[in-house]
């Protein structure tokens, strides 16, 4: 399978501030992300997940080591536009990434920057807006939309570049549950139907459950890496990174500590119910709870 992003022995130091010392975020980080996959990067505040994300499209450049994006070195200046076009970025606050007062003109911003022909821009804008389900709103003013709608416009603005990969840096942090669901559904659909690689950075465990792969970061290091089942069953490890595991895993973990024989890798509510039902139904555990 094609490699989307390869991080090779990455080190990064934030430039010296006046009063603070130089802080090193990564010291020798390695990571590969495959084309077409849905990867969730989890971590507590300040674990370096956003800093890592900014390396994926050359907003930040490594202090040491290399980041390769579709085979292109991010430190090579001539490749910059090609890299940014291949890897789109969506940020936390939708208000601060919408440039225009009209939805469709905002979506057109990136292709306009790339010098695409007007007819082709029109086609891409319409398609991008349809993909995120905001086509009916194409002539609206963004500040009148809900948070989830704004964030979907921001996603459309990135898709209009026809990227192979989208990096979303806590896209749901400022949204209500409804908006959160809209954004996640959109992102999953893009991954499934268009084969776009998705890198979702979040601290909500629930959002990572449906990913193909979960990477947990802490203190600039990768703490765990695997399928959601593999990662979330390592409850103690996650708790040591100040992360709370999904509610279902929490419940199963608590039951296990009480001596109930349940598996830890049941992630959906349905699976969890089944597991508990089986454990108690078979009568292998005491029912003192």
């Amino acid at each position: 399978m094609e490699q989307a992003i390869r991080v090779d022995n990455l080190t990064y130091r934030y430039p010296k501030q006046e009063d603070a010392r130089e802080t090193e975020v990564f010291s020798g980080l390695d990571l590969n992300i495959e084309q077409g996959s849905f990867v969730a990067i989890l971590g507590h505040n300040g674990c370096g997940k956003s800093t890592l994300a900014k390396h994926f499209n050359a907003i930040l450049l490594p202090s040491g080591g290399k980041v390769w994006v579709y085979g292109k070195d991010t430190t090579v200046g001539e490749e910059l536009i090609a890299i940014r076009r291949a890897v789109g970025m969506v940020f936390q606050n939708p208000d601060n990434q919408i440039v225009s007062n009209v939805v469709e003109e905002d979506v057109a911003f990136a292709p306009e920057n790339l010098g695409v022909e007007p007819e082709e821009i029109r086609r891409r804008v319409d398609e991008a807006l349809r993909m995120v389900g905001m086509y009916e709103f194409r002539e609206h003013a963004p500040h009148l939309l809900s948070g989830g709608q704004k964030q979907r416009v921001a996603i459309a603005g990135v898709i209009a570049m026809l990227p192979k990969c989208i990096v979303l840096d806590e896209p749901t942090a400022m949204l209500d549950p409804q908006g959160r669901r809209e954004v996640l559904e959109t992102v999953h659909r893009l991954n499934r139907e268009r084969g776009i690689t998705v890198i979702l950075i979040t601290h909500h465990m629930r959002e990572a459950v449906d990913a193909d792969r979960v990477i947990v970061m802490s203190g600039g290091k990768i703490l765990a890496d695997g399928t959601p089942r593999q990662v979330f069953s390592q409850v103690e490890l996650l708790q040591s990174a100040q992360l709370t595991v999904p509610e279902t895993t929490q419940l199963l973990y608590a039951l296990r500590q009480q001596g109930v024989d349940v598996p830890l890798d049941a992630l959906s509510v349905e699976e969890c119910v089944q597991a508990i039902y089986r454990a108690f139904g078979a009568g292998t555990a005491s029912k003192e709870k």
Binding site: Q97, S100, V102, E105, P111, E112, P118, I121
Partner: protein, 267 residues
């Protein structure tokens, strides 16, 4: 409250006025202002008023929206009116204390108020019916010749459109900050001017901090979307003059010509 300020706000629509080329509308505003300042005599005033009235009617912008937009300017308008009322020399009509109202004063006050109202409503017609990006495009193209003398036309146009884009966002934010400060016991309404000015500090400081952070984030987001300045940039909507644009511009020129004629004839 603050949300009622409609300055620089675009109301999407599909009327003739909306469809006019932004360059036409920009030039029309200039022509309209010229006409406004050459106008003299009741016929001229009425003509300009009717001209604007037709434009407002065609744009289907409800007059109430325009009145709402004028509201914040009531103080300035009244002040100008009063100053003209009392400080124009001429035949006295009413005299009391040190103040004299002259016949000329009444006319010039009414005229000044009319002029300001026309001026503001005229510019409203531009911003209400033209999306900021279209406006920026228009400005950029109109000012394009200045690029030769190294005026950063694209950058200026971009700055303007971003400023317009963030007006509603920052107003919303100001409202939020004010509520937050009020919840902590800050008082904005009473007190002397000095006290009230001081009361604004707890609003302005967080507003500026947040505006700077927004600017920073927006700059990164724009870079992520491959923004590299005006070079090699294309536009989804190309501007083209249509028949209606020429007709409108001719009407604008005729208006100015009429004003000049009326002025000359009167004298």
């Amino acid at each position: 409250m603050l949300k009622d300020i409609t300055l620089g706000q675009y109301f999407p629509g599909n009327t003739v006025v909306h469809r006019l080329d932004p360059r036409t509308k920009l030039l029309m505003v200039i022509l309209f202002i010229v006409a406004l300042f050459t106008a003299e005599g009741p016929i001229a005033y009425l003509t300009v008023f009717l001209f604007l009235g037709v434009a407002v009617g065609l744009s289907r912008i409800p007059p109430r929206t325009i009145l709402k937009g004028l509201k914040p300017l009531v103080v300035i308008i009244c002040l100008t009116g009063l100053l003209n009322l009392f400080y124009t020399p001429g035949t006295p009509v009413v005299k009391f204390w040190v103040l004299t109202i002259t016949r000329e004063g009444i006319f010039s006050a009414l005229f000044m108020i009319w002029r300001i109202l026309m001026l503001i409503t005229g510019t409203f017609m531009l911003t209400y019916t033209t999306s900021p990006i279209a406006l920026t495009d228009g400005l950029e193209l109109l000012l394009n010749p200045l690029k030769r003398i190294k005026v950063p036309v694209h950058e200026l146009a971009m700055m303007m459109s971003i400023a317009l884009r963030f007006i509603p966002t920052l107003i919303e934010e100001t409202d939020k900050i004010m509520s937050a400060q009020k919840a902590r016991g800050a008082a904005f309404a009473p007190g002397s001017i000095l006290q009230r000015a001081r009361a604004l500090i707890p609003i302005l400081v967080p507003l500026f901090v947040s505006a700077l952070r927004r600017a920073d984030e927006l700059a990164v987001a724009m870079e992520c979307r491959c923004y590299q300045g005006g070079k090699g940039r294309t536009r989804m909507k190309r501007l083209r003059f249509a028949g209606r644009d020429y007709v409108t511009l001719v009407l604008g020129i005729l208006l100015v010509a009429a004003m000049i004629v009326l002025r000359v004839v009167r004298i």
